[in-house]
C-alpha cells in the first residue's frame, strides 16, 4: 500500500499517512513489534533504529554494527561547530532542547562527517566497475576530494584503530565486504600520492553500510538504492551526535558557566 500511495496510485481518505509505528493498540508497535517483545526478546537500540527507519529486523551483526556507528559518532569534543553552538546556547541559560537544537542545525555539508558522500561515491565507483585509479582521477577532475579518505594525524604506518576494529568486525560477520574491499583498493591508490591519505572512519562506515545493504539479504536492490539516495547515514550521525550535544549542554549547566560573548579582539570588523 505505502508504495502505491507514494506513486499516487491510491488516493488516501486521510490527511496523514504513516507507516513506522502504530500507537492505537494497548502498547505501541515499532514496525509490528510490540514494546513487550522488544524487552522480552532482548532487542537493542540498534534493533529499534532498524525497526523505525528500515521497518524490518536486521540480523544481529547488522544491528550491532549500527550501534558501533552510534557510539563512534556520539561526540568529537567541544570545538566542532555543533558542540560549540550547543555550549553557547546552554550558557545563555536556555533549556536542553533549545541547546541541542542550536547545535544540530550546524550539521550539513561541512560538518557531520562524509559518510553519505563516501557511500555514494564508493557505490558509484564500484557499481560502474571503475578501476580505483579511474575513480580517484575522476573525482579529481571534478575538483573533489575523495570523501572518506584522508586524516590529519594518521598515516600508512600509523592506522586509525577504529577503522581496523570495524574492518575486523565486518570481515568476521558480514556475508560480503566487497564495497569495503573496493574502498581498500582506492586507499592503496591514494596512499601512493601521500602517506596520510588513509581510509578514515567515515569512509569505513560508508563502505560497510553499502555491504550491509547489499549482502544482508534484508534489502532489495531498489530499497538499498533508496537508502543511499535519501541519506540515512547522515541521519545516523545526527542521532548519534545528539548524545554528545546533550552531554555538552548538561556539562555547561553542571559547571554553571556564564553567558558566552565572543571576544571583541578576535573579530575583524571590515
Amino acid at each position: 500500500l505505502s508504495a502505491a500511495v507514494a506513486q499516487g496510485k491510491v488516493r488516501v481518505p486521510t490527511h496523514i499517512v504513516s507507516s513506522i509505528c502504530d500507537d492505537r493498540g494497548e502498547e505501541p508497535k515499532y514496525a509490528g513489534v510490540t514494546m513487550s517483545e522488544l524487552i522480552e526478546e532482548d532487542y537493542g537500540v540498534g534493533d529499534v533504529i532498524s525497526l523505525l527507519w528500515f521497518k524490518r529486523k536486521l540480523p544481529k551483526y547488522a544491528s550491532k554494527f549500527i550501534e558501533m556507528c552510534v557510539m563512534l559518532c556520539a561526540d568529537h569534543g567541544p570545538c566542532v561547530s555543533g558542540a560549540h553552538n550547543t555550549i553557547v546556547t546552554s550558557r545563555a541559560g536556555k533549556d536542553i532542547v533549545s541547546s541541542l537544537v542550536s547545535g544540530l542545525l550546524t550539521i550539513g555539508p561541512r560538518f557531520g562527517g562524509a559518510i553519505d558522500d563516501a557511500a555514494r561515491c564508493f557505490k558509484d565507483g564500484h557499481d560502474n566497475n571503475l578501476t580505483p585509479h579511474d575513480f580517484v582521477e575522476g573525482l579529481k577532475k571534478r575538483g573533489m576530494r575523495v570523501p572518506g579518505i584522508g586524516h590529519r594525524i594518521k598515516s600508512k604506518d600509523n592506522r586509525d584503530k577504529r577503522v581496523e576494529l570495524l574492518q575486523q568486525f565486518a570481515r568476521k560477520f558480514f556475508p560480503s565486504t566487497r564495497y569495503l574491499d573496493y574502498a581498500v583498493r582506492v586507499e592503496e591508490t591514494t596512499l601512493q600520492k601521500s602517506a596520510n591519505l588513509v581510509m578514515n572512519v567515515d569512509g569505513c562506515i560508508g563502505a560497510l553500510f553499502l555491504d550491509l545493504l547489499a549482502s544482508s539479504g534484508a534489502f532489495t536492490k531498489k530499497e538499498a538504492d533508496e537508502v543511499v539516495q535519501i541519506g540515512y547515514l547522515n541521519a545516523l550521525f545526527v542521532v548519534a551526535r545528539s548524545i554528545g550535544l546533550v552531554g555538552h549542554a548538561l556539562d555547561q549547566k553542571r559547571m554553571q558557566q556564564p553567558l558566552y560573548r565572543h571576544p571583541w579582539d578576535d573579530v575583524l570588523y571590515c
Copy 2:
C-alpha cells in the same frame, strides 16, 4: 577542578571550559575512555550515554536499563505533537535535521513524558517520609495530578506489560528498589480512588532512575540530587525520541508525501 570552576573559585584563562570529551589526542576519549576501548571492551550505547552525561562507567545492569528506556521512549506514533511537526516539516521538502528539530521543539511541559516530574515527586515524598496517603493528598491540595500515575486504557486488572517487565528487571538486578517500592505504595493508594490510576511507564522509569542513582554506588548524594534537579531524564526522552522523529521524517520522504496544509474546515476562525 570543574567543581572549583563552577564555584567561581578558579578564574580560567580560556573562554570555554569543557569536561566530557577530549578530542586532542589520536582518537577522541569519552570521559577518559578511548574509542578503541569502547569497541574492544564491548561497550554499548547505554555506556556511551553514561560516559558523556555522567562522566563515569556504570554497572552493566544500569547501562542496560538506560538502553531499555531509550528503546521504550523511541516513538509513540504519528499523532503526538513532536512526530506531527516533524511530518509536516518533512512534507514541506525540508532536510532531515530541520524536520527533526521542528518536532523536538514541542518537547516540554505538556509533551515528553512525566519522567522528570515523577522522579522529583517520588524523591520528595520518599525522602521526607511522607506516607503515600499524605503524598497523594498533598499533590491534590496543590491542584496537581500525581505524575507517573494514570493510564487511558490500562487498569488494576490489566496492567501495562512494560511496567511489569521493567520492575522484574530491576528487582532482579538493582541493589535496592526502595523508590520503586514507594511508588508501588503510592499506586495502591491511587488505585483505591480509581481502577485506572495505575503506575504508568513514565512513573516506573522515574522511580527506577532514583533507585539507580541512590543504590548503584556510582553517585554521591550530592551528584544524585544534581541529576534530578538539572533534569537528565527529560534529556533521555529527547535523545530516545530523536530516533522516532528521524524515522518519521524518512518515512514521509520514502512515501513522497506532498506539502501538508491543515484543512480550512477544521479551523474555527474567531
Copy 3:
C-alpha cells in the same frame, strides 16, 4: 467568542482555533484589514505588528514607537551569543533559515534584553505605589539588579542618546508618560549609588510600552496586564533581532567564510 473559548465555556467543533488572520477570502485579512487596505491606506510595519499581535490598529504614534523599537533592537554586533551562533551555522554551509534559527534559540533569560523584566518590575513598583527607594531596596533584598538600569559606558553626564530621543518622542506624542516618569525617579535613586546606573534603552522601552498600554485608550486594564504577563516585549526583540541575524548569515555567505572551529587552546579541558 475567543474569550469564551479560552475560558472553556464553548466546546469548539474544530481541532484548531485561530483569531489573527483570515485567509479564506480573495485576499488575506489581518485582524479584519485586507491587504489592499494596508497598501492603499499607507499602513506601516508597526501597524502590521499591531494588527497581528494586538488585533487592533493603534494610534499613529504607537505604531511609530513599535517601529523605533524594532529598529533599535535589530542588531548589536557579531559577538553576542545570537549573532555568534548564526555566524557559526552560516559558516557550516547551512541555509538562511537554519542559521537564523540557531541564533534565535540563544534568546532568553541572559540574552535578549531586559525589556519584559523591566516592564514587569516598573509596573509592579508603580502600581503598588512603592517609592523609588523602596522599589530599589526591595529588588536588592531579593538579590536582583534593577532591570533596565545600568550601562557599561554611559553615565550621568554622558547619557545614551537613544534613551533621550525615545523620551523626547514619548513626551511629545504619548497621552501620558507616568511609567516613564516613575522609571526616571528610579534612575535618580540609583544614580546616587553609582554614576553609571542610568536608565538604559531596555528600561526606557519597557517603561514606555507600559505607558502605551495604559494611556493609548486601545487596551482595557485586563488586556494590558495580559500583554505584560505573556511577554510580548520579548517577542518584539525576537522579531527585531531576526533582521540582524539574517544580516549576519548573509554577510558570512557573501564573504565565503569557511567552517568555524573553536581554537583548541581557548578551551580548558577539565
Copy 4:
C-alpha cells in the same frame, strides 16, 4: 577588504570576520549609521533592513517597497505549514522562540513563496533575450511551472489587487520597470493558455526586486547578481513571516489552547 577576504587574498588574524554592524563604540552602528542617526533622520524598518543586509542606504521608494513586501508577506492564515507548526508548539506549552522556530523551519522549497525562483527565472529570461513564448515553453520542457504565475481564485478579469497596487507604486517611483514589463509579457502568454495564469504577488515582488537592483543605481551588476544568487528575497519572506508566526504563538497562549494531538482517524496507518 571584505572582497579580498572573500577571495582568500588576505589572511585575517582573527577567527571571525564581520561587516554589517559595529558595536564597539558608544552606540552600535548599522553599516556606519549610528542608532541616533536612525531616529533623528527618520529612518524606517526598510532602511534598517537595507543597511544590515545590503550595507547601504537605498532611495526612499526602495525602502518603502521593502516595507510593502514585509507587510504583504507577514501572514497567510493558520493552515499553512509554518503557522500550523508554530500553533502546535505553542499549544505544547513551549516559549515564543521555540514556537516561532518550529514554524520557520518549514520554510523552503514548497512553502515560502516563489519569490526567489520567480526572480531567478525572469532574470534569466530577460537577460538572455528570450521571447516570452520561448521562456514559457523552455520551462515547460524542463517540467517546471512558471514561478510567480498562477492563482487559485484570481483570473484575467478579476486581478489580484495587491499586484495592481505594487505595479502602480513601481511605475510611479521606480526609474525603470523593465523586468516587470517582461513579466507582464510572460503573463500575456500564459493567459492565452488559461485565464487563471495571472501574475501572482510572488511573481510581482520578484520582478520588481530585479528592477530595484538594476535601476536604483545603488548596486553594481555583480552585486545585483550576488543578491539574486544568494537568495535575499527568501530571507525577506522569512523575516516578514516571523511577524505572523509570533502572532500565532501569542494568539494560542491568549486563548489558552491545550496540547494538540492529531486525530487518529485522520491518519492512514499503512
